[in-house]
Symmetry: none
Subunit: 304 residues, 5 copies
C-alpha cells in the first residue's frame, strides 16, 4: 500500500471499510497500481450506439471476452460494462480485473431532447458478479435529470452498504444546454460538483473546453479571473470542483481521437492533478495490440 493510495483513501472518511477496500482494489490493480492514477476501460457502446457502430471498426470486440482480455493485458485498473457483457465473461475471468457494473444505460433508437438513462442492472447483480463498484450515468441539463439523481441516490446507498464503490458518469446533456455547452468549462465543473454532492466515490466527466455556457457563471469566472485558458488549467478547475481533490475524478475523451492528441490530453490531466482516464472507443475500436500499446503509453504518462 503506497503512501499516495493511503492518502487518497483517507479522503473517503465516511465510507465503510468495504467501500475503501473496493477503491483500494481498483487503485492497486494493473499497470498503475499504487500510483493513485487510474485508467478504466468502459464498454457500454453496444447499448449506447448499437453493435455495428461500436464493434465493426474492430470486429473481435463483438465478443464479450475480448474486452476482459483487453483490460487485463493492458493492465487497466478496472473494466466497466452493462449487465449482459459482464455476465458473459465474469466467470471465466473471475478475479483477474476489478469490475464495474454499469447500472443504467441509454440507447439512440428514440431521439429525445431530454434524455434519461434507465436502470438495466442492480446492486445484487454487481455483488453476484463479483464487482467492486457500480456505475451510473446522470445527464445534468436534461429535464429528466431529477429522476436520475433520485435513482442513483438509492442505488448508491444500497451499494455502499454492501461495500461497493460508486462511480458516477456526469454527462451534461438536454434541452437546458447548447451543444457547445455540454463540454463548457462551467458546465463540466458544475457536473463534477453535482456528482460529488450525490455521494460519488469516483467521478467521470468529459474534458472541458474554454467555452462558458451560463451567463451567471461567466460573470463569476471573469470577475474572479479563474484560469481556464489551457487544458491543464481546466482539469485543475474540475479537480477543485470535485471537493478540492478529495474525490477521484477521471476524464473521458469521447469519440475516436488522434493518438497524439490523446497523449497530450493525458499530460494535461496529469499536470492538472486529474486522477486518470476512462478510454473506451479509443481503446476497443482498434486492433488489440495497438490498443494495448496506446493504453500503455497513456499509463506511462500517468506514472511520471
Amino acid at each position: 500500500m503506497t503512501e499516495r493510495v493511503r492518502q487518497i483513501l483517507s479522503c473517503y472518511e465516511s465510507e465503510n471499510p468495504g467501500v475503501k477496500a473496493s477503491l483500494a482494489r481498483m487503485l492497486n490493480h494493473g499497470t498503475l497500481a499504487g500510483t493513485g492514477r487510474m485508467v478504466i476501460l468502459p464498454v457500454d457502446q453496444g447499448f449506447e450506439h448499437g453493435a455495428a457502430r461500436s464493434f465493426a471498426p474492430n470486429p473481435p470486440g463483438y465478443d464479450p471476452h475480448y474486452h476482459f482480455r483487453l483490460a487485463i493485458e493492458a493492465g487497466c485498473n478496472a473494466y466497466a460494462a452493462p449487465l449482459g457483457f459482464l455476465e458473459a465473461g465474469a466467470s471465466t475471468f473471475a478475479g483477474e480485473v476489478p469490475l464495474i457494473l454499469k447500472l443504467n444505460n441509454h440507447e439512440v433508437l428514440h431521439d429525445e431532447k431530454d434524455p434519461i438513462s434507465v436502470q438495466t442492472g442492480s446492486v445484487a447483480a454487481a455483488l453476484r458478479l463479483g464487482c467492486c463498484a457500480i456505475g451510473y450515468t446522470i445527464y445534468p441539463g436534461s429535464s429528466q435529470a431529477g429522476r436520475m439523481y433520485e435513482q442513483v441516490r438509492g442505488l448508491a446507498e444500497e451499494a455502499k452498504s454492501a461495500g461497493l464503490a460508486v462511480v458516477i458518469w456526469s454527462y451534461p446533456r438536454g434541452s437546458g444546454l447548447s451543444k457547445e455547452g455540454e463540454t463548457a468549462m462551467d458546465v463540466c465543473a458544475y457536473a463534477a460538483q453535482i456528482a460529488a454532492q450525490l455521494g460519488a466515490d469516483v467521478i467521470k466527466v468529459k474534458l472541458p473546453t474554454a467555452h462558458l455556457e451560463q451567463d451567471a457563471a461567466r460573470k463569476v469566472y471573469e470577475k474572479e479571473k479563474i484560469p481556464i485558458g489551457t487544458l491543464t488549467e481546466r482539469v485543475r478547475h474540475v479537480v477543485q470542483s470535485s471537493f478540492d481533490g478529495r474525490r477521484i475524478v477521471i476524464f473521458s475523451g469521447g469519440a475516436k481521437t488522434a493518438d497524439a492528441e490523446l497523449l497530450e490530453q493525458a499530460r494535461a490531466i496529469r499536470d492538472g492533478g486529474g486522477f486518470g482516464s476512462i478510454m473506451g472507443r479509443n481503446a476497443f475500436q482498434r486492433p488489440k495490440a495497438e490498443a494495448v500499446a496506446l493504453l500503455r503509453s497513456v499509463m506511462d504518462i500517468y506514472k511520471k
Copy 2:
C-alpha cells in the same frame, strides 16, 4: 447431451445450474433435440390482435389445447403463450413440451405511436405452471422503451434466481423509427444487442432487410463494408451482434408468408449461423396437418 449443446451452454457461464438446465430442456426437446437449433411455437396473437384475427383462419385455434397439441406433434422445442393460454392447458399437457410464459403483452384497441407492452404474468406464475422460461417483449424505438427495459431487468433477475431462462422478444417500433426502419439491418442488430446487454438468454428478432435506418449507423456499415446484401449475411451480422454467437438468437417471420419463402428463410438462418425460428401465425393459422408438415420441413432444414 451432444457436444454442440454442451458448447452452447458453456457460453452461459454466469448463469446458475438451474438456468442452464432450463436452456438444456428446450435444446434437448423435440425434433431438433441436441442439434443446437430451435423452433418455438408462440401464440400470443389472441392478446396482440384479437381472437378472430388470430384464430378465424383456422378455428380449432380458438381452443388453447390446440396449440399445446400442435407444438407437441410438430416436435417444437418450446411453446410460448400468455398466462391465460398456458393456464388453460398446462395441467393436461404437463411435462409434454417446454413452456415459456410470456410476461407482457400488448393489444391494439388503443392505438399509439409509442407502444408499451404491459406485464400480464409473473415469475411465480411461470414456476407454478411448470415453465422453463419467461418471455418478455421490448420495443426499442418507442418513447416508452425505458419502462420496459427497467421492468424486464427486475423480472429477469427474479426469474434467473429461480432457475428460469429469459427470452426477450426485441421488436423495434415507435415514433423514433420509420415503418421500414423497424426491420432495418442496423436497427435489428441494435435490437439484438440491447436484448443481450439486458441479460437475455434467448433473443428473438425479426429477419432484417438490407435497409439502413440511422445515418450514424449507415456511415459505419458503408465505411467498414459490413456485408449485408443477402439474408444469410444479415443473419450472420445479427448473430455477431448477439455477443458473437454467445447468445441464442432466433428469428420470426411475422405475418403469414408463402411456404417457399419460409423455407428459404430457414436456409438463410441456418447458413448465417442463426439458432432457429419462432413461428406463430405461419403455423397456427393453417390446418394442423399442414402446420405440422411445414414445421417439420423447417426442422429438416435446421437438422442439416
Copy 3:
C-alpha cells in the same frame, strides 16, 4: 406421454401444473421413461455415515461427479443428494438427469435415541440448482418427529408453489420403536400413510418385514386377516396405505445386499404394485460397470 404416466399424474389432482411437470420429468426420464416405474439413485451416505464408510468400497465415489455419471449411464429417473454434492456437479451435468435436493440430513457422530434430521438445504437452492424435487426425511417414532413434520410442511408448501415435487423419506426410528419395529409391517404402512398425509408426492419407505410392532395394530391385522405373508403382499399393503395407489411409493433396500435378493425384491415390488426402488449403497459401492449392470437388471424387471 404414455397412458400409464398420464394416469399416475391424474392422481395428483390438486397439484399445480409445475409439480405435475416435475413428476413427469422424473417419470419420463431414463431407462424406465414412460413405464410409470422409477429407479432413483440417492447419495446422502457421505453425510449420514461419513466419507470412508460410504465411498471406500468404491473410491471413485469420493468424487461428486461420479454419481451424476452413474445415474446418467444407468438411466436412473433421478439423482438425489445433499447441497454440497449437487453444487459440485449441477453445472457440468445441467439438464442430463432430474435432480432431487435432499433438504435435511443426519449424521452419526452424536448418538441419540430420538434422532432428528436437520435442514441443510433450501427450496431456493433447489430452484437455483435446477432440481425437479426436494427430498426430506422424517423419523416417525422419534420424540422429535413432530419438529420434522412441521418443518417439511412449510418446505413442501414453498416447494410446490414453485413447481417442485416433494419426496419424503419416511423412516421409522426412535425410542418409540424396537429395532425390529423400524421395518415392521404395521409401522412401515403407517409411515407411508403419514408421508402421504403430509402432502408427499413421492414416498420412500423401507421394505417391510412381516413383524407387527404395535399391539393395537396387530389386533386389526389379525382380525381383518390382512395378507402380509409374502413380500409382494406387504408391498401391496404399503401401496394401499399410500392412498390406495394414488401416490408414488418407492422402496429402499438399505445396506448392501446380495444381488439375487435385490432382484427378488424388485420382482416383489413390481408384483405388489410398487412404483420402484431407490438404490444407494447397492449401486455406488461397487464398480460403475457392475452398478450399471445391476441397475439395468432391476429396471428390466420393472419394465415387464
Copy 4:
C-alpha cells in the same frame, strides 16, 4: 438548560424525546447556546449554483472541510449541507458541530418555470452521519409543490421516528407567483404556515417585503390593518404565522448583501421575535476571518 430553551422545547409537545433532544443539541451549541436564538451555516450552493459561482469568490470553500471549520470557529448552532459535503467531513469533525443533512437539492442546468428539488439524501444517511436534523426545501407556488409536500411528509415521519428534527426551507417560487411575489408579505407568511402544518420543527423563510401578492390576501391585510410597514413588523407577522411562536422560524438573506444591511436585518429579526438567521453566501464567500467576524456580530445582536 436555560428557562428559554426549556420554554421553546415545551412547544414541541407531541415530538418524542429524541426530536426534542436533537433540537436541544442545536439550541445549546455554540456562541448562542441557551439563548433560544440560532445562526445556522448552510452550504448547498455547490449543488444549487455550481462550484465556481459558489466558491470562486473564496476558493478555500471548494474544500468541504472548510465549511465545518467555519461553522465551528464562528460558533454556529448547526451546519447544513447535502450528502457529499457532509460525507467528506463528518468523520473528521464528528461531534464538533450539530449537522443537518439537506435531503433534497435543485440545480440550474435546466431552466424551468415550475421547479422541483429532488431527493439526494436519506434519513438513514442522516443517522449514519451523526446528524441531528434533516433539511428539505419546498417551493410553494410551483406546480410541482404537491410532490415535494408528499415527499417531505414521508421523510419527516421517518426522521422524527428516529429522533431527528425536521428543518423545512420554504421558498415560494414557480409559475403561480410573480418575481416580486416570491418575497411578498402574504406569500412569505403563507409559506411559513405551510411548513408548520407539514410538521416542520424549524422553519426557514426569506425576509419578506411589504408587497402583497394575492388579491384575496391583500383584502384581508388591508381590512384587518395588519401592520407590515417595517421589517420588524413583518418578522413579527411571520412568527405569528408560524403557530404564534410555537415553532422556531429563522430567516435567510439570500445573495451577498452589505454588512450594515445584514446587521440591520438581524436587529429586525430579533425585535420581531424571530429565532435567528441562516447565513450561507454572506458567510462562506468571504475570507474566513471576515466571515467569523460578521457571524459574531450577528450573534452579538441576537444575544441582547
Copy 5:
C-alpha cells in the same frame, strides 16, 4: 492467473462469479499467490479463550492492528477474526489483506459437554467490512450440532448470493466423542465431508491422528485397507473425503507446537495434497519477527 488457480476455481462450478472472484482474491494474495496453496491467520482466541490466555505470551497481540500487520507482513492469504477485531482495523488496512469475518464464536466461561458456537456477526457486516468470506464453526459430535448446521446453511446461502465465499471450521467435539476421538482419522474425514456437503467453499479441519473412533468406521478402514499410517496418508484421505480434492481443505495445528513439528506437518500437508494451513496461536503468540519467519518457512514448503 495461474493454471493451478484456474483449475481450482473450475471445481466451484455452481458458485456465481462473485464467489469465484472472492476465492481468487485469497488464492492470488500474498506469498503463496498463484500456487493454489494458502496460509491463513486466524485470531479468534480472544473470544474463545480470553485475552490473557491468548495475548499475554506476546502482548502486542492485545492490539487488533497487530494481527493485520502480522498477516500483511508474513504475506498470508487471508486474516480471519470475529466482528470486534475486524472492526478495529478494517479501515486502516482496507484492501491490504483479504478478510474473513468469523460469524460465530464460543467462549469457555460456561463449561458444557455439548458445545455450541453462537452467531456474533452477520453477512451484512462482512460486506460492510470489505471481507471476501465468512467463517463459521461447526462441532460435529455435539448434541447441538444440528442447530449449527441449520444456521450455517442460511448464512452460507445469504453470503454466496452476495459473492462471499464460505469457510467452515469443522471441529468434532461433544458428548458423542471421546477426547481422542476429536482428532481421530475417521472422525476428521467425516467432519470434512459434512462441511463439504453443507456447501463450504473452504474447509478447515484439525490434522488427524491414526486413531479410529467409531466401530462402524473402523471395520471399513480395516476391510478396505485405507492407508492412514503416516500423516501424509491421513492428509490425503481428508482431501479425498473433501469431494476428492474438489474443495479447498486446510489444516490447523491447534495449540503451540515445536517449530520442527510444524514444518514436518506442513510437508505432510503438501505431500498429501492438502491446500495449506491455518495458523493462529503458533503465529501470534510469539514475537512478530519470529512469527513472520515461521510463517515464511511454512510458505516455503508449500511453494515447492
